[in-house]
Symmetry: D3
Subunit: 214 residues, 6 copies
Amino acid sequence: MAGKRKKSSGINRKSERTAAVASIAADDDSEITALNLKGGRLSDGMDSYFAKCQEKLGFVPNVLKAYAFDNAKLEAFVAMYNDLMLAPSGLSKLEREMIAVAVSSQNRCYYCLVAHGAAVRALSGDPPLGELMAMNHRAARLSKRQRAMLDFAVKLTNEPWTVEEPDREALRRVGFTDRDIWDIAAVTGFFNMSNRVASATDMRPNTVYHGQAR
Amino acid sequence: MAGKRKKSSGINRKSERTAAVASIAADDDSEITALNLKGGRLSDGMDSYFAKCQEKLGFVPNVLKAYAFDNAKLEAFVAMYNDLMLAPSGLSKLEREMIAVAVSSQNRCYYCLVAHGAAVRALSGDPPLGELMAMNHRAARLSKRQRAMLDFAVKLTNEPWTVEEPDREALRRVGFTDRDIWDIAAVTGFFNMSNRVASATDMRPNTVYHGQAR
Amino acid sequence: MAGKRKKSSGINRKSERTAAVASIAADDDSEITALNLKGGRLSDGMDSYFAKCQEKLGFVPNVLKAYAFDNAKLEAFVAMYNDLMLAPSGLSKLEREMIAVAVSSQNRCYYCLVAHGAAVRALSGDPPLGELMAMNHRAARLSKRQRAMLDFAVKLTNEPWTVEEPDREALRRVGFTDRDIWDIAAVTGFFNMSNRVASATDMRPNTVYHGQAR
Amino acid sequence: MAGKRKKSSGINRKSERTAAVASIAADDDSEITALNLKGGRLSDGMDSYFAKCQEKLGFVPNVLKAYAFDNAKLEAFVAMYNDLMLAPSGLSKLEREMIAVAVSSQNRCYYCLVAHGAAVRALSGDPPLGELMAMNHRAARLSKRQRAMLDFAVKLTNEPWTVEEPDREALRRVGFTDRDIWDIAAVTGFFNMSNRVASATDMRPNTVYHGQAR
Amino acid sequence: MAGKRKKSSGINRKSERTAAVASIAADDDSEITALNLKGGRLSDGMDSYFAKCQEKLGFVPNVLKAYAFDNAKLEAFVAMYNDLMLAPSGLSKLEREMIAVAVSSQNRCYYCLVAHGAAVRALSGDPPLGELMAMNHRAARLSKRQRAMLDFAVKLTNEPWTVEEPDREALRRVGFTDRDIWDIAAVTGFFNMSNRVASATDMRPNTVYHGQAR
Amino acid sequence: MAGKRKKSSGINRKSERTAAVASIAADDDSEITALNLKGGRLSDGMDSYFAKCQEKLGFVPNVLKAYAFDNAKLEAFVAMYNDLMLAPSGLSKLEREMIAVAVSSQNRCYYCLVAHGAAVRALSGDPPLGELMAMNHRAARLSKRQRAMLDFAVKLTNEPWTVEEPDREALRRVGFTDRDIWDIAAVTGFFNMSNRVASATDMRPNTVYHGQAR
């Protein structure tokens, strides 16, 4: 039942390279999901991506290690994630992380709430904002723009079949372009996917997230 | 409000090349989503992918045209889709399409039900099976394996926070490996994403799907 | 467990008379519900009604065969059904069938979705309309009148306790009379009944419906 | 907005005939539904049925007066109702009324809870039983048979798409025949219909019910 | 499993004192909850409170006997209850009881519906009003003030996380002060607590309530 | 709209006494709820209780300040709270706080999640445990005892009407006594009350909680 991933060659190479990783991160490594999947060989691209994570963040997010059993799946996930969350957009990076957390709250996804809650705290410099996104976005004091954005994301998460033109109009009224609406929809969709992969596999977040930006 | 996509250079090039496309497909072109997004330039890779769709299917699925406003997003979507639905897996292609439709039924996604309902009919040679997946998978006469697979997908769609080890055990008991469980989760997750992008943008399926494999 | 109805005298007489029925219809006969109910003797009226179905439709709808174990129940069902769906009304027959399918979609009733989806396709000459009613009526391009009608029917199906005067006013505003409102309510109510009888007994639709009016 | 039914010829004739009706029943007459429907002419059969109600019950149930605007609809309703609730069945009349109330409780139908709650009290001689059916059937001290019957009815009311063979088996295990299962399903279905007609039209119960069999 | 409370010294003393209690109340005594909790010694204050109940009501409400196993818990409950339901407030006692019943209806709490339904009937002199609160408050003919009050209470019961400033504004608009809003919230909250204690312990109401004020 | 509580005499006296309170706590004071309620005079008992909070915690929890507009309500709340959460019980204080957070998570109560999440972190010395209770208790690695306790509390919160003897038996099976079951029910009930008072009034937690025991 335990998702031991010791034999993952890609990851082993990783941990050799990063001998300095704190014990907390090492612990994270031992049981990332409830699935027993043998790690495959990572492409050079993914190999350096993991190295970059280690260098920049001090750890490799467990979701990446979870996908690492299959390089093609990992690459597809990373490509989509990076485009959605980091590429230029009318939504700020913080706004995209706020959507991530508000959506994950509806789906009660432990992995995503912990990892992206930390991102909201870090990007906003406002620790309670991270809690509010995870607990109840309606209780946050938000601009009309951000409230409309999150209301749309939450409705799209909970009752996608009821989203219609007036919902899109509500976004346009607070200044979002049609391209922005796509991005709101795409980020909302992405976390509705990730939440379910994480829940289905009992994915565990790196414990280092808990203390970040408190 | 209408998502006219006439200026999409990638798509225009496409439609020049495929002058023989039936008028029904041409109609499909005119209003794919409720968003007004200017098409961008497609990479050569995506350009030939569209040409291959046209050649093999006789049309380019509207979801691809919808993503074509941004080549990076299109490529990420296509890479993930093709890996999930077409790459080798312990799940047959039909089984993956059955999950697609059962999930889309929970989310009442018109686009995905029409497009993937046709796929279930075609791959199974059993038109009522496509209807059953779209209407109520519990009414289908399924093998224990397929019933367990769909029950997991539907539970993961509707209440992801309640999925736990006994749910994974139920899949193992009917013969699924941990790698298969990942694939069930990933396909379920993917359509929970696509359903929401489609619903958020009012994406319309190519009408040609309706008559396929009846 | 199988609802074999071979001994149903009424039905046996029926099938003798209609030796020319295609094998598909004969198959339909063998297992209509999950209940093992001996057919009773049909009245002359019901006998000729079955004959008329056979003559006009080429088959006897399975719901009638299911009720045929008890002539009084069959007669009551037929009387109510024919009054609601065929008698003069401010609602067109197509509109009544649209309600039937939209309601059955909420209740995920396989029998009614298949049988009445075919009716919507046939009466409208618009196959996608049948799909839209079965999948998500909100995605259909409807007149204000028909949209209001279906919103009322769906709300009355899902949360009947919340229907109040403003809901009736919304119908009057798009031109429905009080008599029309009764008919919308009565058709909605009727399929909330039929959906449950069908689901409780695992009633199976005649397979001939699947290909009709595609 | 008020459903005055003064011009209903059938009803007028009725009330002339029953000059002795208590003032409370006369009040009931004045506003039965929120729909303004002119009463039609009743057939002789319905005319004597109303007379029989008046004679036996001391009043005509408002649901009958509500249907009386159209004799064909009234006859169809009465035929189905009387067959279901009064004809021979493996279910006692009390059991059928218990289903009526438990179903109406799920749908929060004021009319049916009042009218059939009175019937449960009267038939059982146990006033709290009527309350329990209306409030929460799970809190009642019931035989296994009656508890299984009501659990089936409530599940079929709330989530008809999840009813499957194990649900029918649970009924067979406590002694119900397949014919009984039909009757449980049919009564459950019928009140899912009536609840919605009553809610859609804001049907008001005769006030006389409130004090009956307390 | 049966909540026999024979050894409860406090209660025993009570019942000695009140030898005249009708047999119905004596029966009530025998099984109040499904928990087997030994009664503790009541304080003099609680002792006289029970005596006062007996004197004024003719019986001690079972909820008090249920709490009597621990004098501190009983005193805390009584203090809060009496402050909320009997102390001066902008809400009349009837209005507070109407909230109690409407909330208990959402939570389907048999104990509270029976006990407080009787209170609504008694305080209003309008037996159907008690039924309406228990069955569906939306079907009652209420003043705008009382309807807004109950809509707030029901929303706060069912989806507390969605209550926001517009909901409070709706109360202010019909004349409630901020202090009144507190009281509506507090009564709603209190019965959301009591409903759960009663349901968790299968608390049974004194049967005497059933016939009161009919 | 802002719940300024400047005139609250009791609280003013408090803040004079506690001039050393950090500015963060002072800020908390300025807007505790969305209701404009004039503070009343506190009893000596409550006065010293506030002083004790200040001394022990370094601040007075906002919920107490919110109730302070009426000394009787404050006393009743404090008496019940302290009995439930601090008095001897078969449940440890940590277990009672775990219930508090798991219940508040179902009701998405910002105030209670922040305040009691901090308590779980502090009492357990396990910061992720606080997050797990707030996000999804099913994802926590718990003893069978604590898992059963929280499952009961969550079920009682979400569907109190479905709690029956087998639910109590499940608690007894993992070692809880009937008295413990009462305490689980009472704590669950209490937070179902507090969550609603907090949500109805938009109660804001002291910001100091956010950083505690991380």
